[in-house]
């Protein structure tokens, strides 16, 4: 007996999928980024002979092994929920992306095997360290490939490819208009997200520990995590711009919804989170420069200036374009969309803000790396600097969740109709023939 069109009481089936996927992605991204950072750290430990790198890599690898089950369980639950709640939609995806899903499954399998082997042979391969490091990087590679496969599906849902023949369906759908920028955005994001989380964890442990050697270690770990977090964050605006440009060209209604329309508040939220991340990171760097082994007062003064510029540029990014702030909850002032706020428009102010933020970020990271070359006195960081690290970890999670919501809500446009595959499959799983660029989906007996 068919189970029919199921719904979920109270929260509805859309929220079920959103919750499972967003939770899963927070773990999946962590695992991919952490494996790559841990492998890099192990390599650095091998080259520099500094014990902190090795200790950190091993502990992180252990945490990844333990965490793997949570991420995988959520993935399986998500697929089960999708098959049960959106069976028609899932069958359409399977018809297009069968090979992609198959490759993803094997990449996932490869990642599990190599990650477990990597951690388990840590001592056995202690005298063949190069080989062991390669294990870590291969595990990271498998993770990245799995991410690439699912990015093809996720980007296709927002910007379905223009396909007229069945023969082109798989290849063109895989390399749809926003697949490459999304994949690049997530590739960089892996490192940034995990870096901030590592920094936050180190800050928490630093404040709690009573042992001097642990204080030194966690102080170093906070510095190491934040370098990954902030170092990769400042690359993101350029790649994010490329991604948004792809969306604007291929799905202009979606672009307008999230950038100019009723859902543009998600971007205002996003830049608030990024403002906190940038200011807290720069403030941490300024603080840390006080403890450089070789005193660098000029560098420190320059970084104080950079902190001021960071604050200025982030404020420029936050200013909303008009007084129609969050119409969904009635947060509208003046004449709403007609009340323009000074310095709020995208061009030129947001561009100046984002480019300025990047340039200042590169400048401050360069200064900080210059100071790192001669080293720091570890274990003397202030309480506030560790709170800055912890707040970065908190806000990077909000950034991830907000970005995920933004991409998925972009297909809603004005909810009339909302789409599962933009312009092709509606939220109620019915097909739309007119205007769907991927013709085989709507041709009976072929794609869908």
């Amino acid at each position: 007996m068919p189970i029919g069109n199921l719904d979920v009481p109270v929260i509805g089936k859309n929220v079920v999928i959103a919750v499972l996927v967003q939770s899963h992605i927070l773990f999946a991204t962590f695992i991919i980024g952490a494996v790559l950072i841990a492998a890099t750290s192990e390599y650095l430990g091998m080259v520099t002979k500094q014990n902190n790198y090795e200790r950190f890599a091993r502990n992180l690898a252990r945490f990844v092994v333990l965490l793997f089950a949570s991420g995988a369980a959520l993935a399986v639950t998500f697929v089960l929920a999708l098959v049960t709640l959106f069976p028609v939609f899932f069958s359409i995806l399977q018809n297009i992306f069968f090979w992609v899903f198959l490759v993803e499954a094997f990449m996932f399998l490869g990642q599990i095997i190599i990650v477990y082997a990597w951690y388990n042979v840590w001592d056995k391969l202690a005298y063949r360290k190069s080989l062991h490091v390669v294990f870590g990087f291969i595990a990271g590679f498998f993770g990245l490939m799995a991410m690439t496969m699912i990015d093809a599906v996720a980007s296709f849902m927002l910007t379905p490819a223009e396909v007229t023949s069945q023969a082109d369906l798989v290849a063109r759908s895989f390399l749809n208009q926003t697949m490459v920028p999304l994949n690049m955005h997530r590739f960089i994001g892996n490192f940034s997200y995990v870096g901030f989380l590592i920094g936050g964890w180190a800050g928490f442990r630093y404040l709690r520990t009573t042992r001097e050697d642990d204080r030194e270690y966690y102080d170093w770990m906070g510095h190491f995590g934040l370098l990954w977090g902030f170092g990769f964050l400042i690359i993101q605006p350029v790649i994010g711009y490329g991604y948004l440009k792809g969306i604007r060209e291929s799905a202009p209604e979606s672009f307008n919804t999230i950038m100019l329309g009723d859902k543009s508040w998600v971007f205002n939220l996003l830049v608030i989170w990024i403002a906190v991340l940038s200011i807290a990171s720069t403030a941490y760097f300024v603080h840390k420069l006080r403890f450089a082994i070789k005193p660098m007062e000029t560098l420190r003064k320059l970084s104080v200036g950079a902190l001021g510029f960071t604050a200025l540029f982030t404020v420029l990014n936050i200013i909303p374009a008009n007084a129609n702030l969050v119409p969904q909850i009635g947060l509208v002032f003046g004449q709403g969309e007609d009340t323009q706020i000074p310095l709020g428009s995208m061009y030129p102010w947001k561009y100046i803000g984002l480019i300025g933020l990047m340039l200042t970020g590169f400048f401050v990271v360069a200064l900080y790396l210059r100071a790192s070359a001669t080293g720091f006195y570890w274990g003397r960081a202030s309480r506030w600097s560790q709170i800055a690290l912890m707040s970065c970890a908190f806000f990077v999670v909000l950034t991830m969740v907000t970005m995920g919501y933004t991409r998925e809500t972009a297909r809603r446009v004005d909810n009339d109709p909302a789409y599962l595959i933009n312009g092709c499959v509606k939220l109620d799983q019915t097909l739309v023939k007119e205007g769907c660029p991927t013709k085989p989906i709507t041709e009976e007996g072929k794609g869908g």
Binding site: V15, Q22, F27, L67, S70, L260, D262
Partner: protein, 48 residues
């Protein structure tokens, strides 16, 4: 800019109370699942 305003015309977003409830319920669940799984992993991993 006119194009943007034209596209927004008649836009309703998702202004219902149930929509707002779904948004916050979803967010709460994500954060709960995330923090509890992380906490659990930390708990089973400590005592080295």
């Amino acid at each position: 800019m006119e194009l943007a305003l034209l596209l927004q015309e008649g836009s309703t977003g998702d202004p219902t109370a149930i929509g707002i409830f779904h948004f916050f319920a979803g967010f709460f669940l994500i954060i709960t699942i995330y923090s509890s799984f992380l906490g659990f992993t930390y708990w089973i991993g400590k005592d080295e």
